[in-house]
Point group: C2
Chain length 122, copies 2
């Protein structure tokens, strides 16, 4: 499924993962499999955007913890997962790829407002 790009610049774009939690994926436009395959400019911009997303998630959602992952085992096209985690989400404290702990009854503030805030910072 091709997700809608929430943000895009010359080096990368951001899409939303369909999930109960706030979960974004940042894709490199440069065709690289691993972080070290990217050019320095792309890598620095990726890290920079990760930090901005993290800080905006913390500010807006006040999560228990931010989780970040670079896997790409199924899709070897460099992308970074960034997730806001909450004590009562379905998997906490397990990673979202781990064993489900409970049915989630998360009630979170509006996602569109979060994206609006994020776009102002990017």
């Amino acid at each position: 499924m091709d997700s809608v790009k929430l943000y895009e610049n010359s080096l990368l774009y951001i899409v939303k993962e369909d999930s109960e939690i706030p979960w974004l994926k940042i894709f490199s436009k440069q065709n690289c499999k691993e972080l070290s395959d990217c050019d320095k400019q792309t890598r620095e911009r990726l890290f920079n955007v990760v930090l901005i997303v993290e800080k905006t998630m913390i500010e807006y959602y006040k999560p228990e913890k931010i989780n970040i992952a670079i896997f790409g085992n199924y899709l070897p096209k460099l992308h970074i997962h960034i997730m806001a985690r909450f004590k009562n989400d379905s998997h906490f404290p397990e990673p979202m790829w781990g064993k489900k702990q409970r049915d989630s009854k998360l009630k979170l503030p509006d996602f569109d407002t979060f994206i609006k805030l994020l776009l102002e910072k990017l």
Copy 2:
């Protein structure tokens, strides 16, 4: 359990995760919960070490994919997991936190030689 430090400088240290795969954890010495809580110098050094570990793992082990994760849901002390993944490891293509796929029959080159190579680069 307090693992043996494989490497240490003024900002961070590296320990081995006990696993079938090559799996290192890089800990920030600065007491921070999230990446964005760290000072810039620590963060840049962490990223730099991640890249060196990744490149050395690729060179030495020729893995299918490198996996990187920052969770800290159980232990809110900033650390970065970096793993070399192989098609026939116990979980591939799932993350190491996901569902086990098979019994692993991995035969990998010597870990001590990998660490020797890594220390030369750090």
